[in-house]
Symmetry: C2
Subunit: 332 residues, 2 copies
């Protein structure tokens, strides 16, 4: 049987905590026999949620915490002062190797700071990027950095390219993943100062399969497997993806409902449409790992429902099995 | 009757030139009686295209040119050396006030350089932004800068906010347009160095209705009327919009065709779907004006079909009628 993976899960973080988080954890241990979840949160609140479900009791361990870091709080102060919060305690479980990973839908800022300060960087990694997978026509791609380090430097982007390549090769199983830099044109002379400085570095990097620039409009077609960018641009690309998808679906559904003909047609196309939407549903891919830390930290959407939480927990298995951090250590 | 608007149109620029451009020009003069098109391009090529259509002959004037600036050419050299290209001659028609506007689907770089060097900036305007309208659930918004000035400074973004507000108020007809800065979080302390420096300047700018930050995922819902950003980020947001829309449609259509049930349903929902898609079709809004020049220069997509060309030409009417450049002069 495969090795057991211990995942600390923040039951208090995100818009739908604790209900959806706890259900996500319950489903994860039911789906995979080799997962043990350490569920962090206010003791009676979490117990009461857990009591709703039937699940293998020995594989969800409650870890009571007494504080909660709110989204609006200044991250550095929150991490320093709220020692008994679900985020700080979860990070410590990873730092002390009691857990392999920590999953949270809580404050992005606190998760980033906690990852750096408590879990710590792999030696040599300058800036750990937030690296979500997202669906494309060809399968999925990874985009990094998507929110951890604004105003990054060229050397950071080169490390992102290496870490993203390792992730795509060993977790997703793509041989020689195609690395591209997010740009506003295909030609080498296009771009802002950061892109122009980074481009030749990527071109001369022997460890990656660099294919040049990728424009945002070609990302969803699957034009590259690893997309490297500074966090501000990456965050905008990913959130635009989510926003356009959401708006178009809403509009299409609304259009179907506007006439009897549309309603009948809508019923007929429903299964096919559902299948397509599932393919382009970011929550199918779990959360975004913060790559380059001495342990795995996964940030899921603040709006995560149970399915995304489950997928984020399950995602930790391949990360451990493939020994991603060892590979990053060797490569950086 | 309303004033005549003279529009120079580049028949040689873009992936579908000259066919779609010439047809777009023909349709524009047929749709609006107060437009005169000055059609720039290789004489016999343009004449042969024009001969296919029936249109008011006195309102399309052929302006023969002998050179073409290709997309890959270094823009500054191209503008300097190809004096008889459709882009250079078109810009000169605007500079000499023989035309009110120039519309081109050609090389973005050459159009930007030509706009600055030949048409010239309005006094006080630091950097003319590329400012496309795009569809949202609530109607449309303008995003600027979308590709003209990478690595812009805070003072540029403040001018973008003012020019965008004028455009939305007088061309689109939105009273007190809501201005937001594109950001990666809603809180004031979020963002990169540029956003953090620009935010207080916008907040204290009396001429605009600043509502704070907007995240990319809320743009398509219509969260702001004027979205201000640096060109790299803006270009990524807009192209991501186009890419996701295109991919989703392709996938949805593919899904309908995958079964008989889907095919029948697809036929029934077709009219409703078509209506929705039309609403979210960027080409309905014409091209992107380069704001802040001593005349109007409109860049349409390289892949423009005739409809976008027609709409781009027609768009020039309100720009002239509303005297946008005078208003910019007063405000900057």
């Amino acid at each position: 049987m495969s090795e057991t993976v211990n995942v600390a899960v923040d039951a208090m973080g995100g818009d739908n905590a604790p209900g959806e988080i706890v259900l996500g954890a319950v489903n994860a241990v039911k789906e995979r026999e080799n997962i043990i979840v350490h569920l962090l949160g206010t003791e009676d609140v979490v117990r009461s949620e857990l009591s709703k479900y039937d699940y293998p009791k020995d594989r969800i361990i409650q870890v009571p915490t007494t504080e909660v870091i709110e989204t609006g709080e200044p991250p550095v102060i929150a991490i320093r002062t709220k020692k008994n919060s679900s985020i700080v305690v979860g990070m410590q479980l990873v730092h002390s190797h009691k857990c392999d990973a920590f999953v949270s839908a809580g404050s992005s800022g606190a998760i980033l700071v906690g990852g750096l300060v408590i879990v710590g960087r792999i030696k040599g990694v300058e800036r750990p990027p937030l690296a979500p997978l997202f669906p494309t026509q060809k399968g999925c791609s990874i985009i990094l950095d998507c929110g951890a380090n604004v105003d990054a430097r060229p050397s950071h982007l080169v490390q992102f390219a290496k870490m993203g390549s390792i992730y795509m090769q060993y977790v997703v199983g793509i041989d020689k993943p195609r690395v591209a830099i997010l740009n506003i044109g295909a030609e080498e002379e296009k771009g802002n100062a950061l892109v122009k400085e980074t481009y030749p570095l990527l071109k001369n990097c022997p460890d990656i399969n660099f294919i040049g620039s990728v424009e945002a409009r070609d990302i969803t077609e699957g034009a590259a497997d690893v997309i490297v960018c500074e966090a501000f641009a990456g965050n905008i690309a990913l959130k635009m993806y989510e926003g356009v998808g959401k708006t178009m679906l809403k509009e299409i559904k609304g259009a179907f409902m506007s006439s009897l003909r549309g309603k009948i047609g809508g019923l007929l196309v429903k299964p096919a449409l559902k299948e397509t939407l599932k393919k382009f549903d970011v929550s199918e891919y779990g959360g975004a790992p913060l790559l380059g830390l001495e342990g795995l930290v996964v940030k899921t959407h603040g709006s995560s429902k149970h399915k995304e939480v489950t997928n984020s927990i399950i995602q930790c298995i391949s990360f451990k099995e493939q020994n991603i951090n060892e590979k990053i250590k060797v490569n950086i």
